[in-house]
Every structure is written in structure tokens, then in C-alpha cells.
């Protein structure tokens, strides 16, 4: 748990590096603000709905089965003894997860999302969308109980938060990209995309390495807290997490080498994080060979999905958040159902994962899209044309990230 916050640092570095230098300080400040706000909102209200398996929850009965649909825990962490109990550790995990989920949409809304509306959107994510699904999948909710109540394997398995953190964040990223529209100059009149390269591949690749350390902590903590994995089995979680990331990054490098003639650094980085995301679902339950296969396919899916979204669907996602977190996360959940080996019955495990994925697409996505579309009516999300041209650093913060350097000649020429 102590190294898990490194995943926040990694994602912040990746999002910053994939943007242009005129938006670098804004990107980093957005990450700090979003993470801070997510933690505070989760502390005040998010945890009430998230809860944990050992705490009170709202339940109704339908078709003769109990449906645990919402946590019923007091706000402000009250009633939680800071004694290292599973409930307290789950609350700590929830704080980190909310912060990590909040950073994901920043990648798709980069270079055109106002700081104030970004904070408001983060509050909705950390206060409503994330805790509801996290309760269902990790807090003893109906998805986690699919095995007990409906005979679907051991229920929906998402120990490291592939669904609750990454797919939820990735689908929010898709909603934000839709609402904001593409960056000015990204698409020509006939719909051809222009390449807008990030300003620091070094940030991006260093962020990948930092994120891997954080992921080890998140996946390990999730495996202990939500699946009761004994500490002796954590080595397998670490091995699978690393194998997933490495195989996905190599696949992305090979795919881009084949398609473009040279390996692409930023897409390989996206592949790396996609492998980490895919490993989050069931790293504790997969044999290492299955983790490699999961990573291989995740790397391929991320690379192809980035291209598909940009070229065919005209969705401008500067950080690749939709592909890396939503697509790879859904694949990770599916792979867990197909390749995982569970202590109880495997029968129905695949369909439990399908039900979880269907819930993400059919409940979480409409919810997050509706909330953000409504928010956009009250607090417009998109920065003005002048702000976008000037760069968000100068326009919203009044100072650039690199004041000692002339970073863009076109910023300083007469118009």
C-alpha cells in the first residue's frame, strides 16, 4: 500500500509528457488537484457508498435473491478504528483508487479542459460513479456475490481495480472526449488527423516505470483485501503484473514497427500501461504464462484501438486513456474469466466477468456520460479558442512550465 501512490505519479508524468510544453504545468497541476479533490470527496461521501464487505449495506430482494446495491457507512471515516483492520485498509485502498481513477480522464481531456470544470467532474467521479461500482465489485456488492447467489463461479473478480478504477476512469475519459471535442487543428476539414506529438517522451517512459512500482502495490493490496489471498502468494501477483506490462510493451513496439516501419515510443508506453491495467483484474489467479498471453493481447488491442479511435471515429484522446484504461481493462476482466484458476468452482466464472463488463458498459458509461453532459451545461468544460492557442499554462495559470526556454517558436512570432 505504501508504494501504491507511485501509480499516481506515473500517470501524471505520462499525461504531462504526452501533451505539448505549453500545457505542461497545467497538466501536472490538474493531476495534483484532481487527486486531492478525489481523496477529499471520497473521504466525505464516496466511502459512504463504497463501504466494504464487512460493513453495513443497503440490500433489497428480487427474484428471491438479495441484491446488495449500496454501502451504508457513516461519512468522514467515522466508526473506523485505525487498527489495521480490513475495513480500514479497504478505506485506504479506496482513497488511492479514487485518486487514480480521477487521473484517467485527464489524459483524454488534455490541452483543452478547464481546471474548474475538471475539478467538478472529478467530484462527480469520486463521489458517485466510482464508489457505486467499487461497492458492487469490491465492497461485497451484488457483482461480488454472483457466485453465492447465482452460481456464477466465485463471483465477479476484480481484485486490483481493472473495472472499478480503470474501466470506470476510461469510460469517463470517453465521455469527456465526446463532450470536449477534438483539439483545434487536430482534424482537417476532410477529417484527416494531424499528429500532435507530446513534448517529452522521457517523462512518458519514466512515468511508465514509476507506475509499474505503484501497480505492484495496488494489485497486491487488492488481492489481499478483496480475495483473501495469503501473503505468500503475493510473489505471483508481482510476477504477473510485471510479465503483463513487459509483454504488452514489447507487443506494442513490434506492432508499431510492423505498421509504421519504426517502433513508436508513446504507443509502446501506452502498451506498457495497458498491460498493467489488464493485469489488475486477476493477477492473483493467473498462471504466469496466462499473464504473458493477457499482456500480449492487451498490447495489441491498445495499439489498434488508439489508431481506430483517432482515424475512424475521430475521437481525440491525447493521452490514450480510453484505449489504455477502458479497452485494456475490459480485456483484463475477460481474460481473468477465461484464463484464471480460482480456489472454488471455475464454472460460470467467465459469465460472472461478462455480467461485470455489461454493468460497466450499460450502467457506468451512461451514468458518467449523463453526469458530465449535465455538468457541461452549468460549468462549460472547454477552454476558449484563445486559451487553447496560447496554451493552458499561460491562459489559466499565468506562467509556463519552462520559463527559461523558448519552447515553441510559433508562440512568439507576430500574427
Amino acid at each position: 500500500m505504501l508504494i501504491a501512490p507511485l501509480s499516481l505519479a506515473g500517470l501524471a508524468l505520462i499525461n504531462t509528457g504526452l501533451g505539448r510544453s505549453r500545457n505542461a504545468a497545467h497538466a501536472m497541476l490538474s493531476a495534483v488537484c484532481a487527486a486531492s479533490l478525489a481523496v477529499c470527496v471520497y473521504f466525505v461521501i464516496g466511502r459512504c457508498w463504497h463501504g466494504s464487505a464487512s460493513e453495513a449495506a443497503h440490500t433489497f430482494f428480487a427474484a428471491g435473491k438479495p441484491w446488495n446495491w449500496l454501502g451504508a457507512v457513516p461519512p468522514f471515516f467515522s466508526g473506523l478504528a485505525p487498527d489495521g483492520s480490513p475495513a480500514f485498509l479497504a478505506a485506504w485502498f479506496g482513497l488511492l483508487s479514487a485518486a487514480l481513477a480521477a487521473l484517467i480522464p485527464l489524459g483524454s481531456g488534455g490541452e483543452r479542459w478547464r481546471l474548474s470544470s475538471l475539478c467538478a467532474s472529478t467530484a462527480l467521479l469520486a463521489g458517485i460513479t466510482f464508489p457505486i461500482f467499487a461497492h458492487w465489485s469490491q465492497g461485497g456488492g451484488w457483482l461480488q456475490q454472483l457466485g453465492v447467489n447465482f452460481g456464477l463461479g466465485t463471483g465477479f473478480v476484480d481484485t486490483g481495480g481493472a473495472g472499478s478504477i480503470h474501466v470506470t476512469g476510461g469510460l469517463t475519459a470517453l465521455a469527456i472526449a465526446w463532450i470536449l471535442g477534438p483539439r483545434r487543428g487536430k482534424y482537417s476539414h476532410d477529417g484527416m488527423p494531424m499528429a500532435i506529438p507530446g513534448h517529452s517522451v522521457v517523462f512518458v517512459l519514466f512515468g511508465c516505470l514509476v507506475a509499474a512500482a505503484g501497480w505492484m502495490g495496488l494489485n497486491s493490496a487488492g488481492a489481499i483485501l478483496f480475495a483473501g489471498v495469503p501473503p505468500g502468494r503475493l510473489a505471483l501477483v508481482g510476477v504477473n503484473t510485471l510479465l503483463g506490462a513487459c509483454s504488452a510493451a514489447l507487443t506494442a513496439a513490434v506492432v508499431t514497427r510492423i505498421r509504421f516501419g519504426l517502433p513508436d515510443a508513446s504507443l509502446s508506453a501506452n502498451g506498457w500501461v495497458g498491460g498493467l491495467v489488464a493485469s489488475s483484474a486477476g493477477a492473483a489467479f493467473m498462471p504466469p504464462a496466462a499473464a504473458v498471453l493477457t499482456g500480449l493481447i492487451a498490447g495489441m488491442l491498445v495499439t489498434l484501438s488508439v489508431e481506430l479511435l483517432e482515424l475512424r471515429f475521430e475521437i481525440d484522446d491525447p493521452g490514450g486513456s480510453i484505449s489504455v484504461h477502458a479497452v485494456a481493462g475490459i480485456w483484463g476482466l475477460l481474460a481473468t474469466g477465461m484464463l484464471g484458476r480460482f480456489p472454488g468452482s471455475d464454472t460460470g466464472a467467465f459469465f460472472a466477468q461478462i455480467v461485470g463488463i455489461a454493468t460497466l458498459l450499460g450502467f457506468v458509461f451512461p451514468l458518467t456520460w449523463g453526469l458530465n453532459a449535465a455538468l457541461n451545461r452549468f460549468i462549460p468544460m472547454r477552454v476558449s479558442r484563445e486559451g487553447e492557442r496560447q496554451g493552458l499554462d499561460l491562459f489559466e495559470l499565468g506562467a509556463g512550465a519552462y520559463p527559461d526556454f523558448v519552447t515553441h517558436a510559433d508562440d512568439h512570432t507576430q500574427r
Partner: protein, 58 residues
């Protein structure tokens, strides 16, 4: 059309919920779960395609 796509997403999810709660076990339940997911994928594709003309009109 985007709203229709989103409604299809919700409909697919409700189909999945009905399948697991009403059908007890076996191929029928699994089939309806997969059908619900297929409806959702259709809704997602519709919503994404509905997004395209807005972009190309810019």
C-alpha cells in the same frame, strides 16, 4: 442517434440482469447474458458512429 445508442446500452444491461435473476441456470441464461452484451456493443457502436457527423461538420 447518440441517445438511442445510450438507451441500447442500458437495455442490454437490463437484459443481462433479467437473465441472471429469472433464468436459473444453463445455456438459456448464458445465451441471454451474451445477447445482452451484444445489444450493448450495438449501442456503443451506434453512439460512436452518431458522434462522427458532428465532427465532420466542423
Amino acid at each position: 442517434m447518440k441517445v438511442t445508442g445510450v438507451l441500447l446500452l442500458v437495455t442490454g444491461w437490463l437484459l443481462v440482469l433479467c437473465a441472471i435473476s429469472i433464468l436459473k441456470s444453463g445455456a438459456a441464461r448464458n445465451g441471454f447474458v451474451l445477447a445482452g452484451l451484444a445489444v450493448e456493443i450495438l449501442g456503443l457502436v451506434l453512439a460512436i458512429r452518431a458522434h462522427l457527423p458532428v465532427r465532420t461538420e466542423r
